[in-house]
Symmetry: C2
Subunit: 433 residues, 2 copies
């Protein structure tokens, strides 16, 4: 994929020479935070946080609210056949490809009010400010609110990659079949292919998001410049042993599947942590059968996950873990089987956009750190269409996907301002078309 | 508790000197196996085995069938207030305390046709043979079919120990509250105390049972002489860590409850197997929360169990395991909590009865092995009333609590014959009253 090219010399962040006499363009932080508060009402949980799962009434109602904000910001709003909300603002040069900004407003069950929402409302705020100040930009601008991001990036997958029938007919977290969910949101699953865009059809995609980790907060950094979105390899692991009476089966005659699984969990941790780098590996769920005090477990299933920016490294770690599992199985006559699925490839961000985001932050006197995104984002799908960039703001305590997810108003405003300056910088870059 | 005393000198197994001219007394093996087959129809599963869970229709109907067999065997049948079936046969000396034999006919869900059934129908066959041959014995004989053995020995607990209101009001595996279940079987939960017997009120209790393990089969032994029923210590263990995003949380900042739990499972195994002896320790179930591929588990609950014939050893092992858990918790900032419950104390069998069972088997030219019972049995409750003995027969493959549970007809017949000879031997022992 073609990068935009580095042409920063003499770039003046915050306004061109002609605008120098005017106060620099800034987002309205108070309004943005007010919109976040208003959005938090849709799917609000009594115990805090939000359950705005894609395809639920709360999701549909929240989207209605957001579409209102987009219209207020002067955007021409439509819903594509995949159910994504697309808000368009014309540029002065009709030959240029759009700059796309956006995120998502669906949440996990019992999630928080910042994951996706900050980037979505931040993008709308950028459009609003440009509209209010009648700022004319060369590129068309699009704000996209992707549908069902928490459902393995469904909306952006439909837009950038295509979604097959199997996925369309699967049951989503809402309980609705994806196909019905898309229809529920105003999309048209029978014409899904019309939502798919072509590689090279955009100038760039830039997404503002909360970090969902604690790195920025711990290092007291205001803006994260994302170097890439990690690839993810998920596998379901089955350990077959033999179920037997826990009272009458001597220790040396057991084929205890849970004992093997326990050794596996520790070994995976050891393999992942004994290799230099920032890769992570997790066993997130486990089930032992039959699952009673008085029965030696005969079968265990568990879910493992590996993440890194380097696809080859993920592969190497996985192989090491598989070999170690075979050894563990031999120790007590149990057998490991691996069913890998849901692999995503790492998506690196564009070098020019990284520089531009960094420069935008510095122009706003904000500290920056280059870091990977350990979480998946719509941006990784959008990378199939053109250059992507991502701006992170701190998550307090690194907490995410939970009611206690929180980012400070000042950080939210900073993030939106960096997004605004990045869009303006991108628009001024001479060789983007 | 007083043991019966050793007085084996000159004891002639299989008949007194006066009976020497007659063929020795033997059970009718074919009839016994036929009764087992007929009983297997009550609660029969289409895929094999039986679900005759206590307090279900299948249980009640199976009990009706068994009560018919008891009446056919000349027993005077009644149901005590706890719902146990009691069949009585008078002895020639009204001053002697009864010899009690029996077992249970309720099963686990999707259980087999031998656990409990062999001992119950074996005991009835012994009564039947005595009746058919008009054998007069000095002691009163009682055949007891205990109710809800699989519900932590409920029937025998009511008879030997008493059952409190809490247990009476708990929900049983059938879905019925225990109190209602007892009523359903013909008991009277409001007069439960009347079922309770006094310590010293019996001569002995002898139970025939399948081994439920593979020791006898592997060593090609026909009869197991049980030296005791192990004590059981169950504990629910909670590991508290901190749930976090599996992509954005660096490995060295995790408080992974499942990693700690895995180390615990392995450590428990190591503690139990590194101490000489036949103790067993198991982690039979485990649950990680929230339980998703992409979340570091914040909480794990699991069930551990320790069993041994020596109560002090169980205590020592438990203490070792608790200390080790504290160390594991410190490694990654997680915390272990233990909630012990459902502890049963080991119940040793009577020395005289062990000798008598062994002699009875040898008189029948059957090989014997002294072994512990790793499973719990009604006999352990009956040990509170007087001397107990248990006779094991081989379980093919050691399989139990499963449809494939199986004991060979020849072994079943052998077991019932040993039970018969043990009863006769006990009856002849001069100092039992």
């Amino acid at each position: 994929m073609k990068t935009i090219g580095v042409f920063l010399l003499g770039l003046c962040i915050g306004g061109s020479a002609a605008q120098a006499a005017q106060p620099p363009l800034r987002v309205n932080g108070q309004r943005l935070v007010g919109h976040l508060e208003a959005l938090s009402e849709f799917g609000k949980n009594p115990q805090g946080g939000v359950s705005r799962v894609a395809y639920t009434d709360a999701d549909r109602d929240g989207r209605q609210y957001v579409m209102g904000l987009m219209r207020d910001a002067g955007l021409e709003v439509s819903i594509d056949t995949a159910g994504n909300i697309v808000g368009k603002r014309a540029g002065t040069d009709a030959h240029l490809k759009p700059i796309i900004i956006g995120s998502h407003i669906d949440s996990v069950p019992e999630g928080g009010n910042y994951d996706g929402d900050v980037g979505s409302l931040g993008a709308i705020e950028v459009a609003q400010i440009l509209n209010e100040h009648r700022v004319r930009v060369r590129h068309p601008l699009q704000v996209i609110i992707f549908e069902n991001e928490e459902g393995a990036l469904l909306g952006s997958a439909a837009l950038a990659l295509g979604v097959d029938e199997k996925r369309l007919n699967s049951v989503s977290q809402s309980g609705k079949v994806v196909r019905d969910g898309i229809k529920f949101l105003g999309g048209d699953p029978d014409r899904l292919a019309e939502a798919k865009r072509q590689p090279g059809s955009m100038t760039a995609y830039v997404e503002l998001h909360i970090e969902q980790g604690a790195v920025l907060e711990q290092q007291r950094i205001q803006i994260g410049v994302v170097e890439g979105i990690v690839g993810i390899m998920d596998a379901e692991v089955t350990v077959d042993g033999f179920a037997n009476h826990a009272g009458t089966t001597p220790m040396n005659q057991r084929h205890d599947a849970l004992l093997s699984a326990a050794r596996f969990v520790e070994k995976l941790n050891q393999v992942v942590t004994s290799t230099p780098g920032r890769q992570v590996g997790t066993v997130g769920w486990i089930k032992a059968q039959p699952g009673a005090y008085n029965v030696v477990p005969g079968k265990v299933t568990l879910g493992m996950e590996l993440r890194d920016l380097d696809a080859q490294k993920i592969k190497d770690l996985y192989e090491q873990i598989r070999l170690a599992a075979d050894d563990i199985g031999r120790m007590n006559g149990t057998r490991f089987q691996f069913s890998p699925f849901a692999a995503t490839t790492p998506a690196l961000t564009d070098n020019y956009l990284k520089t531009l985001i960094g420069q935008s932050a510095k122009g706003l006197r904000l500290s920056t750190l280059v870091l990977p995104s350990g979480a998946g984002h719509d941006a990784q799908d959008m990378a199939h269409l053109g250059p992507i960039g991502m701006i992170f703001i701190p998550s307090v305590g690194g907490i995410s996907h939970a009611p206690k997810e929180f980012s400070r108003p000042a950080d939210i405003e900073n993030g939106a301002n960096v997004l605004l300056q990045t869009v303006l910088g991108l628009d001024r870059a001479p060789d983007t078309k």
